[in-house]
Symmetry: C2
Subunit: 518 residues, 2 copies
């Protein structure tokens, strides 16, 4: 019982409903990680996983489907069996080679003020990338269009808490498959001035991303390594395989000094052992193999240790996300990445199909896992729904709120004479109130976190305004943000060069003169 | 982009919808806290808050409205000003006296297997207590009845993840106010065999709780100190006051060797300084004053350091819950309680009025705060809605899922030869699968967390079953749990003695012969 809650509830004079003006949000700022990470395994246990994964690479090895990748491994001293395409790496090679990767690097953006530090005491949040479908409250899950993709990118640009676009939120299914990456890149570069993710599947697409990024940065593609702009997600094909498109993407990106984020999808019970320790042994082996390959391509190329281990739903065999095992896997992965001194990537994921309580609690679990694991890059940090098959407009707003709250928590409170507030305590006295004290008045405006989505109004006001749940409010917020969107400026010559590139490449791909982007 | 999610999604053969049988949940078990707490302030900063709060008690002091409490303070050596009722405590007195309280104790229950350890490496979860209103999906927020209160208690009994009832989930407004605590206690004692919380407001009600608990435990009230059964929430009246009913409850409970949970409601910006450090100075001063008073009543009486600091919504002056500041306050409070070697209480709270995404994310924030702060007691751990004015049936189920997930996360994964899974990795081979490996088959049934509320089915199945959101599913679950409820056995003589006590006391209160409980 806690009856004082009822008895002593302060209320100010009434006020109007919220958000009649422009959407208020926290300012752009790359968050720091000021607290210790949460480590759930001992150093000995981490060492056991590390050593087991080295054993896997030595004895079982990786099956590498692309010939150039096998040649690069072989040139570095790996044992390559061409008939089976299996590459075995001895532990000395792995340990020496992985050390070539930097522990921190700078990721540039078209707007220099949107550059990001990757690694060290910094984290950043990336929007969802890769789903097949779009979803909003009115239409439910549906095939997304290029116009909707542009709307999604405008929201990603508008939300200050998102530091990076995630590689296209969903497929623009009204555009031809062979060239839609070009339209997507044009939108990423002109509707936004933040950092963005390319498509890492295949050499040709990777080069298109690199060319367009180079145009936007005003440099030659061959010089892009001086100002890395890409963290490119590379998924191994678990268990223990690397396919041709992923290998090509990895090689192309690493050759240009762009960061590859080696992320095994080690789904415990399906594509990895059913035990968390076993799944992490396999994740670690696959991640190390990819990291070694990147260093074989270009010693010193930036890499990120990617972790995506989760468990299946044992009733259906389908992946589950934001589970307790997922959180543990993220935290242990952070320990492994720190053991190697490498930047670490985790994610904000859920199995839920609606923007309901499940979506929120699974995302919170994943997010607390990522942040307490000291993830330097939180991929899919906003917008992911339905096990990653869907990108949701309302979910984007929900996640922006979760991320904003996390950034506020990541700012430790001041403890000094002024904040200890002894004068205010004396001024308020026994049973008094603090509303009117000088201490309060001086700090009133910015003392506390101001929510984007949460409704903190009392029950009667909330009911009288229609008993709107968080998903309904999120729907209103993204529409208002879209209405308030302002396109960032771009040098007309750069814009023209991008349009020319897209038109030329479309011509090559489709065998016609192509055409500029809508 | 993470296209492997789409390309390599394993699916088993179809299966029927879930939950056609009885509700499955994790077994009863008091969770341990195996990981390090998350400490967000330095030891020096904690010391600064500690010293400032000792200064507050020395110079400003507590206004104590009850005469016996002032006499107890005075007898211990405090400086008491009878005209202003202000009690000033020098730091030597505070520091010596608080050390008399134990750092860990056992809390007994009618069912000996439901006893709880309070403090040390243990935590436990208590159901919501104290709200005015009940809420469910069909009726919305409404005045609760005794029949509904009994239903709520049956659910608390049924949910294994709840270790303690919270002191009555809402007011049974169909019963007379003066005696409804007797009916509530009868329900707590007969519909449940778990530990439960009493009403701590006033000496008479406190004694009724003690008498009835003693009957159920088969001991005299004067002997109840040998087997403590109560953690009784005592709220100070912030700032720096202790009122008559709370002082009476504190004294009565401590006199009987029951644990008082001293919990200042230090609402930053209203009843406490607008700075978090200042609000915590005040919380700490008030908590220490209550802890000292309990030790003056009975040296060695168990106490719990309660923390409830949160911030106001600066637009309305009303309390906000589950905020970033709330999480920080919980984590710092845990540091303070550890500095004193005292058991620590935190809570799971939200401002949301609906069981929507906001309810889930604010509760998750509060819960991660509590658990990473090493709360030994998580009060209001399930069922709290709308800033504590409402207890919700669907929220109870949502929170049970959050708590179950947390308990699964609190069980560290095994790291040994069997779990490292090298044979399984070799058996599956490159690009193989793990479904059929011996390693998987041996662990299949219990490898992963099994959800209570989450729907992990694919989109088509979820849509075909009605696109039910988590709140709708929670509604079905609590109704099924209620249908499956089995009343725990009770000695008929004990039941009769409880009924006799209630009847006698109702007669005294209402001046008639009273009557047994419905």
């Amino acid at each position: 019982m806690e009856r004082s809650l009822r008895a002593r509830r302060p209320q100010r004079e009434g006020r109007g409903p919220r958000r009649t003006g422009a959407i208020r949000q926290r300012a752009w700022r790359q968050p720091r990680l000021p607290y210790r990470p949460l480590e759930i395994l001992s150093a000995d246990q981490i060492e056991a996983i590390h050593l087991a994964s080295l054993g896997v690479l030595e004895t079982i090895g990786m099956k590498v489907l692309q010939a150039e990748a096998r040649r690069l491994f072989e040139a570095a001293g790996a044992d390559v069996d061409e008939s089976s395409m299996v590459v075995r790496l001895d532990r000395g090679l792995v340990e020496e080679t992985r050390k070539l990767a930097p522990s921190q690097f700078t990721l540039h953006a078209r707007n220099p003020e949107r550059a990001l530090e990757v690694g060290g005491a910094f984290t950043f949040f990336s929007a969802v990338g890769g789903p097949a479908f779009a979803c909003d409250l009115e239409r439910g899950r549906h095939a997304g269009s290029y116009a909707e993709l542009c709307d999604f990118l405008k929201l990603v640009q508008s939300l200050n808490v998102l530091h990076q676009e995630g590689g296209g939120p969903f497929e623009p299914l009204d555009l031809p498959e062979a060239s839609r990456h070009l339209d997507t890149h044009y939108a990423q570069l002109t509707l936004m001035d933040k950092n963005w993710q390319p498509w890492g599947l295949g050499a040709e697409r990777a080069r298109d991303g690199l060319e367009m990024a180079a145009i936007a940065m005003g440099v030659a593609r061959e010089e892009l390594w001086r100002t890395p702009v890409f963290t490119c997600i590379i998924n191994t094909n678990s268990p223990l395989m690397l396919d041709v498109p992923m290998a090509e993407g990895l090689i192309e990106m690493a050759r240009h000094g762009q960061a590859v984020v080696i992320t095994p999808f080690t789904l415990a019970g399906a594509m990895a052992p059913v035990t968390l320790a076993g799944a992490l042994v396999q994740q670690n082996a696959e991640a190390l193999a990819g990291i070694v390959l990147a260093q074989c391509v270009r010693p010193g190329a930036p890499v990120v240790y990617g972790a995506f281990t989760t468990n299946v739903d044992m009733r259906s065999g389908a992946p589950a996300f934001g589970t307790p095992e997922y959180v543990q896997a993220a935290q242990i992965s952070g320990q492994l990445a720190r053991r190697y001194g490498l930047p670490f990537r985790s994610s904000n994921v859920t199995t839920a199909h609606a923007v309901d309580a499940q979506a929120a609690y699974e995302s919170e679990m994943a997010l607390w896992g990522a942040i307490t694991a000291h993830a330097h890059m939180v991929n899919h940090a906003a917008g992911w729904l339905g096990g990653g098959l869907t990108a949701g407009f309302e979910k984007l707003i929900l996640d922006a709120e979760l991320l904003q709250m996390m950034t506020a928590w990541l700012e430790p409170p001041a403890v000094d004479e002024a904040s200890l507030g002894l004068e205010a305590i004396a001024e308020a006295g026994h049973g008094g109130h603090f509303f009117g004290t000088a201490h309060t008045l001086a700090r009133y405006e910015s003392a506390f976190y101001e929510p984007l989505l949460s409704d903190w109004d009392n029950y009667d006001n909330w009911r009288d305004r229609g008993s709107m749940d968080a998903a309904t409010r999120a729907n209103r917020i993204w529409k208002q943000l879209l209405a308030e969107y302002e396109q960032p400026a771009i040098d007309p010559a750069v814009d023209e060069a991008l349009r020319d590139y897209v038109a030329r490449r479309k011509g090559e791909i489709h065998g016609s003169s192509g055409g500029a982007t809508a």
